[in-house]
Symmetry: C2
Amino acid sequence: MLSKKTQYAFRALTHLVENYNKGPVLISEISKKKKIPLKFLENILLELKKAGILESKKGKGGGYFLKSHPSKTHVANVIRVVDGPISMLPCVSLYFYERCKNCDERYCGLHDVMEKVRDATLNILEKRTLQDLVV
Amino acid sequence: MLSKKTQYAFRALTHLVENYNKGPVLISEISKKKKIPLKFLENILLELKKAGILESKKGKGGGYFLKSHPSKTHVANVIRVVDGPISMLPCVSLYFYERCKNCDERYCGLHDVMEKVRDATLNILEKRTLQDLVV
DNA sequence: ATTAAAACCTACTGCTTTGGTAGGGTTTTT
DNA sequence: AAAAACCCTACCAAAGCAGTAGGTTTTAAT
């Protein structure tokens, strides 16, 4: 399951997609419109900025906005930034790989199954973008 | 990510598949062979029994064994019993559905994406069985 | 009938993560 | 000077995760 934090992230990003090319959007506006706790949202947006998904402008008239066109940011990317691994097992993760103990990957049936699941999942999440969220 | 508990469950089940039709297997044997903490394993096997995946026999000569043929128990079933939901959002879960707040499912883009992910995932996990784990 | 083996059951513990809240200070821009 | 993002520390309650402890019941062999 995605964490609430990730779900908040998607809701916030959706708002920024809807206001794409209309200049910076206040944190407080996103918080109000999407009903996300303000201070919590602050952290989330900062993370998304550090990850290169958002940009911000300080001072009066400042706020957050998408760094790239909505069709350029993939759903998978957002999940990885906020929640971490998408795979069901560490030993099949592409970005958060860890070897599993007591299990030889070459002969582990579960490994194979979860690899297939990963591929099927990423096939969707790496194609869908922020743009697809507002249709 | 699957919990360690679920991963233990699969390791234990794998052992029982390897010893299918050889009579009851001791918890302590599974624990030793698969390097799973004994008391923890006890709980896991009990859960799997209550869920109808395993059977047991008490007393001397007792132990655990698969209730049905390995090809009859699906990977998805095991995950649901031990870990719970497979979907990435409660609002797309088939077995653990919950409505999401502040989001109309009819117009929620994320909902649609996660529905696709669910279908792709289940398409694999509901076809693969315990038998596939030991190949 | 007794005893030992085994599953069964309940509860508990310690740790980490999640989902926040509180409150400030700093920097940049208008 | 004011507005806004930025950044930081600290704290909290609740839940989940991983595992442990210890006793109860059932069964089979003696």
